[in-house]
Amino acid sequence: MNYSGTHSGFTQQANMRLRNSSMDDSDGSQLFENTSGAEVGPQAGYRNQQGGPPPAGSSGHSLLTDPMSNLAMAYGSSLATQGREMMDKNLDRFIPISKLKYYFAVDTLYVGKKLGLLVFPYMHKNWEVSYQQDTPVAPRFDVNAPDLYIPSMGFITYLLVAGLALGTQNRFSPELLGVHASSALVWLVMEVLVVLLSLYLVTVNTDLTTIDLLAFSGYKYVGMIVGVVAGLLFGRTAYYLSLLWCCAAIFVFMIRSLRLKLLSEAAAEGRLVRGARNQLRMYLTMAIAAAQPIFMYWLTYHLVR
């Protein structure tokens, strides 16, 4: 890093200082990959180092030669760094950014395979999520791991496709987009809450986190988009046919994915296990899987007339 910098104006130096800390993202992180939360720590330390020397070095050319202002500037910039660190730490408490990064550690190949799985899950044999010393492997390396990229992109694409569908029927206005967005979001949140509640009531010992459930619930948007696009292009029969296909596919997908997570090991392997608890768990899995086609139809039927 060039601490002496180019002295072409006070404002540009201030910008250099800001951009020095933002340039870390483009220069410093070439050293390590950003797919886990580990980069928060070292980068914060790196930025702290950056915050110290530049103000002291460049302030010699500030317009006030008063040493007190140098001190004030150094203090101010260190305050800013501290403030940002504190904000990062507090934000991390509410929205677990590091955990979120795990769900976005995907690549194009994974997305392609997963989309194929969502539409045609019948040939896939092995549905287990592979682990690596107690932590699940990143979605990039295991096609069975849930991710959040497909659900979020699916949600946004669904909104846009809904806007398009309404537009072709001359029923579109931009605020309808907002109405659709909020109602779909509310349905999603309610579904996740209901599933969480029923998991709690049935006292299932599972390692499914809330974000996992969010991811699984978000996979149905892919089927919805396929149905609506087919309906727009080819008419109502195409919409019903493709929706039927996607509903069946997502039903099978959910059952096979959740079976391994919710049922006990013996039942998951297919052996017949008696007992009220296992029955309850099986019903729960089937209920969750059956809710998906219902939502898919509910959220799309008014778009294709």
Partner: protein, 229 residues
Amino acid sequence: LVVIHINIVRPFAGLSDVSISEDVPVEGDISVPVAASVTEDGFSTLDEPVKETVLRDLRAVGSKFVHVLYPRRSSALLRDWDLWGPLLLCVTLALLLQGGEADSEDRGGPQFAEVFVIIWFGSIIITLNSKLLGGTISFFQSLCVLGYCILPLTVAMAVCRLVLLGGSSTVSFAVRLVVVSASFGWSTFASTAFLADSQPPNRKALVVYPVFLFYFVIGWMILTFAPSQ
């Protein structure tokens, strides 16, 4: 484990490339050269006339426009990011989209605020997605790139309005379709030239897809604009 090289004034030059882990407290002396007279070289911009300040910012914005129009692999847009250009483009586009005819009961075209919200929220979502995917670009740099690449679409909007002055027929629709599609492709290509560089190659398509959606929405708004008679 992060290795940090710290250059602090020390009496032993041979220690200048010592690797220090970050939890070792580092001490040293920093000598600050306090110059006696300072303001001659124009280091302070508080004293210059306002016209110069405005012109300098305008020139910076203009140079970035040129970079967008001829997208090469240059890092000028990323290094000196600013948000004036996107704001200017956003306001221009929103103004040009005013005065549309009422499509449903009481609605005109997109309101001014709606265009703003769509553009800025769309950019924020794309930036978040890019950062979560592990991009090396910072938040505001990404906002800057996405905002500047709206330029071709704004130009297309102006062209569309001119075409619509001659009446709205199928020919004018075809012309508008071609113009908007071309500028949409240009915008997407320009922004991916900057954004995709910050991702490893097996994730470029994942970052390009939301950008494609974003400019598609803006292009759709431009294409469906019909002036009120």
